[in-house]
Every structure is written in structure tokens, then in C-alpha cells.
């Protein structure tokens, strides 16, 4: 048993078994988290204002992080927070490494085949940012032009569907898209409105100001994601979200990150409702 090769073989075997078991297990995740007394909640790791590191304290903060805290508190569980990369959000849920993800995860029918969505706790538009002097005013004007999105984002998936006449390309981060827009590599970039607003504010200090097109490519319904078939856990999260909304805490979280206490100054217009309500 102390032989390293034997040990690692056994570990590899166990790991493989665990992967298969996690797929096949009929165990109820809600009972599991209650038994543990803690819930693992994933968020984005570098996406302001949803989930990102506060440059001063090095702590992860944001709208989604506050949602994790509120939901865990409402369910009477200890929160174990896990920051994730954009691409890792769904795989981590499916592999069972996290119990739930509040990762600015927008409902898409294809996504709903892989994971289950709670009620929406946020709604946002996906927009397009162009240079002011580009002459691009509508989505139709983007035909034949390069449009940049961040790799693995829903903005990228939606852009491929909506902007069929454009050449949609992805870079690793949305900041690189902004760099590409600034030095004319691409004609436009697409992401959530909040992200684009930050870049728009930044560009006003440069010689090439940008503007948001009034037409969004899509309205996103953002919910908490759990593994496919974890209905009990999903229902418990739904109850928690409704309570958080009724107590006014959701509006507080919104104001803090997107509303009057933030740089965006937006007003909350969405209701807590199922994510698959038609746009």
C-alpha cells in the first residue's frame, strides 16, 4: 500500500469510479448539503460586478457572491465559496465539484439540457459596443464585419446565432476584445451591458470614444444553476431566492452592485420569475 505506483493506481481507479458514480448516483444533493451543513457555491472569478477579487482586500466580492451568501444563509448552511473561470462553470456543476453556481449564468435552451436553472435573480441585456465614428447604428450594420466576444461566454454563443452575417471571433478575455476594438482589429464587441458600460466610460478618456447600440442582441435571464435532476435542491434555492426578494435584500444587492450605489446607476426592472419566460 505504500508503494507510490500502487497507491496512485488505486487513487486513479477511485477517481474514475467517482466520476462514473457522480453521473450515475441517484443521491439527493439537498440531503447531502444538509448533512454536511455547508453548501459549495461557485461564482465567476474575474467578472466585475458579478464575481471578482477586490483589489484592496483580495477577497472575492460581487453580486453573485452576495447571492451565494444570502442563499446559504436563507437555507441555514455554511457557505463554501468557489471562484470559477467562465468556461469551468458548467463542467464543475456536472462533475459535482460545486453544489450550485451563481455565475451570471444566463438561461439558454441548450444549457438547460445540461443543468437545471432556478428562478431568475437578475436580468440583463447583451449589447454591442462600437466606435462612435464607425457609422454603425444597428445590428444590421454589422454585416460583414468582425465582432468580438469573450471565449466561452453566452454573448459569444448568442452572437453566432443572432449576427449570422458578421464574422464572430472570440478572444480569451473581454478586455482583449476592447483592445481589439480600440486598434481596429474588430469593428464591434459584444458582452453584457454592464461590462460594455465600463468600457464605454473608459473610452471617453481616450481619443476614440465608443457607444452602445440601442438594440440588444438578447435579454438574458440569469438564474442559479444546479446539476440536472437535482430538483429538491433547486426548489430549496427557489424558496430562498423568493424570500431574499420579499425581504428587500435582493434590491439592496442590486443597488449595491448595479444601482444607485454603483458606477452604473441602473434601476431594477426585473421580477423574480422562471428563467424560461419568453423574452
Amino acid at each position: 500500500m505504500h508503494h507510490p505506483i500502487i497507491k496512485s493506481t488505486i487513487l486513479a481507479g477511485l477517481a474514475t469510479a467517482a466520476v462514473f458514480a457522480s453521473g450515475a448516483a441517484q443521491a439527493n444533493r439537498l440531503d447531502d448539503v444538509k448533512a454536511k451543513g455547508s453548501i459549495v457555491c461557485g461564482t465567476q472569478n474575474a467578472s466585475s460586478p458579478y464575481g471578482f477579487q477586490d483589489p484592496k482586500t483580495r477577497e472575492y466580492v460581487g453580486y453573485d457572491v452576495d447571492m451565494c451568501k444570502a442563499i446559504a444563509k436563507e437555507m441555514g448552511l455554511k457557505l463554501v465559496h468557489k471562484p470559477l473561470s467562465t468556461e469551468a462553470r458548467i463542467p464543475e456543476v456536472k462533475m459535482g465539484r460545486v453544489d450550485m453556481v451563481a455565475g451570471s449564468m444566463a438561461y439558454l435552451p441548450t444549457r438547460a439540457k445540461e443543468v437545471d436553472f432556478s428562478l431568475q435573480y437578475l436580468q440583463g441585456n447583451i449589447g454591442v459596443l462600437v466606435k462612435k465614428d464607425s457609422g454603425i447604428k444597428t445590428l444590421a450594420d454589422l454585416a460583414g464585419k468582425k465582432v468580438c466576444a469573450s471565449s466561452g461566454s453566452s454573448s459569444a454563443a448568442i452572437a453566432s446565432k443572432v449576427l449570422t452575417k458578421s464574422d464572430v471571433l472570440t478572444f480569451q478575455t473581454i478586455s482583449q476584445c476592447y483592445l481589439g476594438l480600440q486598434n481596429d482589429k474588430v469593428a464591434a464587441m459584444t458582452a453584457g451591458d454592464l461590462v460594455l458600460l465600463r468600457f464605454k466610460n473608459d473610452s471617453e478618456k481616450t481619443s476614440t470614444p465608443t457607444e452602445l447600440l440601442s438594440e440588444p442582441t438578447y435579454t438574458e435571464h440569469i438564474g442559479v444553476v444546479v446539476n440536472k435532476g437535482e430538483t429538491d435542491l433547486k426548489n430549496a434555492i427557489n424558496v430562498a431566492i423568493e424570500k431574499i426578494d420579499k425581504s428587500g435584500e435582493l434590491s439592496q444587492i442590486y443597488d449595491k452592485w448595479m444601482g444607485k450605489d454603483s458606477i452604473y446607476k441602473l434601476n431594477r426592472t426585473f421580477k423574480v420569475q422562471p428563467v424560461d419566460r419568453a423574452n
Binding site: E87, E114, A157, L169, F171, Q172, N183, K185
Partner: protein
């Protein structure tokens, strides 16, 4: 988790994968040919007795060997056009710039390694070989052509093949600037189907098969031109 590969029954997915493989292979072939050409040119330039030139070559090699390949690709794509006048820049950014710059970056990167491989091949030839060649009346160029290079190139073949395999895998780095090669397509498919495991398994197999093919071809070339040949 389901281990069905229903992904492959979707014509769109198949088409994307095929396209990805074709871009990957084009990048690889381009980097191989351009890289070897530049490496041979550099080897020739090194013979010019100029301290400055040798210093420049050394700098070139060290840059390409000590800076991460992915950074080199970014420098070319995001940095290079910026130093040009705006009109030229806009003209450059019109076409398929992503592929072109990835090809330039990968070619230059691998040329530095190929050059080192060729140089070490030349260095492995005993000095007595040159003396012998000169003593039977061959000129400097003739000695190089008939005595030194045929032996040196044979010694360089195995490391060159090894490096070529690494370049093949490095083509996947081009996805960071939006080149639609295999890994980029895989991530794109993953982003619309969310079948992470399946698609990465498929791409792993594709890479493995092509890598093994390259290695097999390389082994045949090595056998055809063994280093310890008797003519």
C-alpha cells in the same frame, strides 16, 4: 454524465471540427516550411564573419526561446500593426489577420529552435572533417556542401522532428487571437452544446492520431537518412 457521442451526428459540429483540423494542419505545415527556411538562412548568415550579425542572431534566438509562445503570438497580433501608419493598419486588419499573424509568430518561434538544432548538428562534426575536405582540394563552400552539411543535417533530423511535434501542439495557442483552429472550434462547440467531456475527448483523439502520424513519418525520414551512414 452520458458518454454518448451524439455530437458527431450533428453535421454542423462535424463541419466545424473538419474546418478546425484543416486550419490546424495549414498552420502546422506553414510554420514547418517557413521555420526551416528561416533556420537555414540563419545558419548561412552565421558563417559571415561579423560580430554584430552573430550578436543579432543570438538575440533573435534567445527572444524566441525564452518568451512564452503565446505571448509572442499576442505581440505580433496586438502589437505589431500598432507601430504602422493608420492606413496600412486598417488595410492589414481587413483580411484574415488572425491566421497570418499566428503563422508569422509560430514560424519565427520554431525557426529559432530549428536553427539551434542545425547548428548543433554542424558543431557535432569533427573539425578534422573540414581539414580533410580542404586537404583533398575542396573549396570552403564545396566542403560545406559535400562534407559538412550532409552529415550535420542527418544529425539534426531527430531533434527537428521532435520540435515539429511541439509546433503541431503549439498551433492550439493560436486560438487566443481567434484563429479558428481545432481547439478554438472545440471550445466553440463546447460553448453551444456544453458537452465538455465528449468534445474534449474527441479533440484529444484527433490530436493524438495526427501527432502519431507525424512521429511515424519522422521515424521513416530518420531511418532513410541515418546519422551514422556509410556512403
Amino acid at each position: 454524465m452520458d458518454f454518448s457521442f451524439s455530437l458527431l451526428t450533428n453535421p454542423d459540429t462535424l463541419h466545424m471540427l473538419m474546418w478546425g483540423v484543416s486550419v490546424t494542419l495549414r498552420l502546422f505545415a506553414g510554420a514547418l516550411v517557413c521555420g526551416l527556411t528561416i533556420a537555414l538562412l540563419l545558419s548561412g548568415l552565421y558563417l559571415v564573419p561579423s560580430k554584430l550579425l552573430r550578436w543579432i542572431i543570438a538575440l533573435y534566438v534567445e527572444y524566441h526561446r525564452n518568451v512564452p509562445t503565446v505571448v509572442q503570438i499576442m505581440v505580433w497580433y496586438f502589437g505589431m500593426p500598432e507601430v504602422l501608419p493608420k492606413a496600412i493598419r486598417l488595410w492589414i486588419n481587413q483580411g484574415n489577420t488572425e491566421f497570418s499573424f499566428a503563422l508569422i509568430a509560430l514560424s519565427l518561434n520554431v525557426s529559432a529552435y530549428y536553427y539551434e538544432d542545425i547548428r548543433s548538428g554542424i558543431k557535432a562534426i569533427a573539425a578534422t572533417q573540414i581539414e580533410a575536405a580542404r586537404s583533398i582540394g575542396l573549396g570552403a563552400m564545396q566542403s560545406l556542401r559535400y562534407v559538412i552539411l550532409p552529415q550535420a543535417m542527418r544529425i539534426s533530423i531527430p531533434p527537428i522532428i521532435n520540435r515539429s511535434l511541439i509546433v503541431f501542439k503549439d498551433t492550439s495557442l493560436a486560438m487566443v487571437i481567434g484563429v479558428t483552429e481545432l481547439t478554438y472550434q472545440v471550445k466553440k462547440i463546447e460553448n453551444t452544446t456544453f458537452q465538455t467531456f465528449q468534445i474534449f475527448m474527441i479533440s484529444t483523439l484527433i490530436y493524438l492520431v495526427i501527432s502519431l502520424l507525424i512521429a511515424t513519418l519522422g521515424a521513416q525520414v530518420s531511418r532513410k537518412f541515418p546519422a551514422n551512414f556509410k556512403s
